[in-house]
């Protein structure tokens, strides 16, 4: 019996020792926490994000022909002896309290050196607080509420433009298209869901409308995931604004398009604060009703001339998820890319060194897959070079229509017709 146990022990120990030997020779992996809604109403977002981060990690770690982007040469983090980034996933199920607990677990137990998240702004608020307390950088890949970067956090870095940047671009677009077509926007209806994303987005839009002399015909806050939005649609119809500006997640985005159709309302133009409107399920779910819908975007998948890395990265993603990159997944790729670059420049896996390197980030837009000028963080941790675009649904797909530098088509403008 004893003999057998000893043998068993030896058999188990041998590979473990070998593995230890290998690990000592090569550089140690750098663990990075990734917190997303892997279950619940936004589970698909989480599944897509999972694939996007996996693809990016493969690009950074793997051995392959160099891709025309920062960290695209592969082979791990060069200044850390080829150390690989190792992604540790956690599920927050779109619940801020669960997000807080998961972030804490990742930092204290999995010893991650940074966390990337998290899709919804409400969960980012709690995760980033935990990160601040434990002094670990939080990279906001896709949380767009402006207030997140105005809380004086020192460990918060946001690669994506926020809803203030996005909304400024929307009103700049109104000015441009109004001057060009002679049909300016005179009134807008704000329609937004009742969590931090919708509220923040509407606050900035209300202010910008006032600054630009545009009337707010309706200001409607609705309950997310309602069984029916038909009363809301009627109020929008009664207001009859030139442009409807919704801030909604995908389920409500599909529902409001249908509800407006049900009460016979077809707004002259719709310009969405992305989110649900940029999802493939929105385009298939709303069907013909989605045609002509405008949305802001931080990603322009059709800008392949100026961003050559889009084609190979998108192909790698498609191989995994059977669809192209979208506004969310492209920003996730970029967030991990920027973080990996910072860890590499820091030459260290210590959170404090990584934070220092992040503050000195200066990535050029052409080295990413985004149509941005680049990535540089200001004192609040907000990327100041993330310049958004406006896209429009044309025959069941979004195409970039503004600004002119990256546009592939003229916008179809139906206001005042």
């Amino acid at each position: 019996m004893i003999q057998r146990r000893t043998l068993l022990g030896a058999a188990l120990a041998a590979p473990a020792l070998l593995a230890f030997g290998r690990a000592a020779a090569a550089a140690e992996d750098v663990p990075i926490g990734i917190v997303y809604p892997l279950s619940g109403n936004s589970a698909q977002i989480g599944a897509d994000a999972h694939a996007a981060y996996d693809v990016t990690a493969e690009i950074i770690n793997g051995r392959h022909d160099p891709l025309p982007m920062l960290m695209g040469q592969g082979g791990g983090l060069a200044r850390l002896g080829g150390a690989k980034v190792r992604l540790v996933y956690a599920d927050h199920a779109n619940d801020p309290q669960k997000a807080r607990a998961e972030a804490e677990r990742l930092i204290t137990q999995d010893k991650v050196v940074a966390i990337i998240g998290s899709f919804s702004s409400a969960t980012a608020a709690t995760i980033s607080q935990v990160c601040e307390r434990y002094e670990v950088p939080y990279i906001s890949a896709d949380n767009s509420s402006p207030s997140l970067s105005q809380r004086g956090l020192k460990w918060f870095f946001r690669t994506t433009p926020n809803d203030a940047n996005f909304s400024q671009a929307m009103f700049a677009f109104y000015k441009d298209v109004g001057a060009k077509t002679g049909h300016p926007v005179k009134s807008v209806s704000l329609f937004y869901e009742d969590s931090i994303f919708g509220t923040d987005s509407s606050n900035i839009q209300r202010k910008l409308a006032a600054d630009n002399g545009i009337a707010v015909a309706a200001d409607i806050r609705y309950r997310a995931n309602s069984p029916s939005l038909s009363a809301e649609a009627q109020r929008l119809r009664a207001a009859g604004a030139d442009v409807l500006m919704p801030s909604s997640y995908v389920s409500d985005a599909i529902l409001v398009m249908r509800a407006m159709n049900e009460v016979g309302y077809h707004p002259p133009a719709i310009l969405a604060q992305a989110a649900g409107f940029q999802e493939q399920s929105f385009i298939t779910g709303a069907g013909d009703l989605a045609e002509g819908v405008l949305s802001r975007s931080s990603y322009a998948g059709d800008a392949v001339k100026t961003r050559p890395a889009i084609i190979p990265v998108s192909a790698l993603y498609r191989a995994k998820q059977n669809k192209g990159l979208n506004d969310n997944t492209a920003r996730q790729v970029t967030a991990l890319q920027v973080l990996a670059d910072a860890i590499d420049r820091a030459g260290s896996a210590k959170p404090a060194d990584i934070r220092d390197a992040l503050t000195r980030t200066d990535v050029k837009g052409v080295d990413t897959i985004m149509p941005w000028t680049g990535v540089r963080f200001d004192a609040t941790g907000q990327n100041t070079d993330g310049t958004p675009v406006i896209q429009q649904v044309h025959e069941g797909a979004y195409r970039t229509v503004w600004p002119a530098e990256v546009a592939v088509a003229e916008p179809v403008w139906t206001v005042g017709q």
Binding site: S39, G40, N41, S42, A43, Q44, I45, G46, A47, D194, I220, R221, Y222, R223, N225, S226, P227, S228, S230, A231, E232, Q234, R235, A238, V250, S251, I254, L255, R258, N261, E262, V263, G264, E279, Q280, S281, F282, T284, G285, G287, D288, L289
Partner: protein
């Protein structure tokens, strides 16, 4: 303004009919055997996925799938009773707790299973006969899928009432009133319960089929309707079909009018205010007997 109110009333009543039918199955099971089915929303979700899958495979309009889905759900309801509920009810102690945990666990399992099997995408049927069609009746717009759903709901209620007049219906009523005495007169209680679950699930199947012609389908879609269904049942009176119908219509109407008159984000407040009001003045619900 009148046009706006009229439209809100029509939209509210149409939605109310759906709420009523979703609640009917829940009410039936509760009235029959004092079991609250916490997986009711998930049964609604499953029937919607059944429509989606059958529609995708057979390219048949959702309306024609109505009897098929109802039949599938009937089988599902009977299976849930035989495999889970009957066993949960046979425990020696803490029966109430056990039945809550069983249906609650079933709900979580079904949601997870649906996400595993179908993915978390939001899907919808856009190529049906009635998809996205409306007719204008003066200033009021009538969405055809919802009008059809409303008619089917009324028919289903007529069916449920007709059922209560039959031999089986009387056996059901007798079992509800005294589940121990019926055994003495030769009624197989277990069979009645299984049938009750079958009918309850089939009812929610009908509601799910009609809902899928104008609503999106996703693993968590049941949650949007479940809370309203529980309120509807409590408001109408546990076990009362007529109560479920009246309460569903009332909730649809109140919801629609609160969203129009007050802030839309407060529309559930109006609904719960009415519920509390009824609860205070008439604790057993509008049509409740118990």
């Amino acid at each position: 303004m009148t046009a706006l109110v009229l439209q809100a009333v029509v939209s509210g009543l149409l939605m109310g009919l759906i709420y009523a039918l979703v609640a009917a199955g829940l009410s039936l099971i509760f009235g029959l055997m004092d079991v609250v089915n916490f997986a009711h929303g998930e049964m609604l979700m499953l029937s919607m996925f059944a429509v989606l899958a059958l529609h995708g495979a057979l390219h048949v309009d959702a309306l024609l799938l109505l009897p098929v889905v109802a039949l599938i759900m009937f089988g599902g309801g009977v299976a849930v009773y035989r495999l889970l509920i009957a066993r949960a009810l046979s425990v020696a102690s803490n029966r109430g707790m056990v039945q809550i945990f069983v249906t609650f666990g079933l709900a979580i399992f079904l949601r997870g299973a649906a996400q595993f099997a179908f993915g978390g995408e939001f899907r919808s049927i856009n190529d049906g006969w009635l998809s996205n069609r409306t007719v204008a009746l003066g200033p009021v717009f009538l969405p055809l899928p919802q009008v059809a759903a409303g008619l089917v709901c009324l028919l289903a209620f007529a069916g449920l009432l007709a059922l209560s007049r039959t031999e089986f219906g009387r056996a059901l009523e007798a079992t509800r009133e005294d589940r121990d005495a019926v055994a003495l007169i030769g009624i197989d209680r277990d069979r009645i319960f299984a049938f009750g679950w079958g009918i309850g699930a089939a009812t929610v199947g009908v509601a799910g089929t009609m809902l899928s012609t104008f609503y999106y389908v996703s693993p968590s879609v049941g949650l949007n309707f479940a809370v309203i269904a529980y309120v509807t049942v409590a408001l109408g009176g546990f076990g009362s079909m007529l109560g479920a119908l009246a309460a569903g219509l009332l909730i649809g109407l109140v919801e629609s009018l609160t969203a129009l008159a007050l802030e839309p984000s407060l529309k559930q407040v109006g609904m719960f205010a009415v519920y509390l009001l009824v609860l205070v003045s008439r604790p057993r619900g509008l049509f409740g007997k118990i």
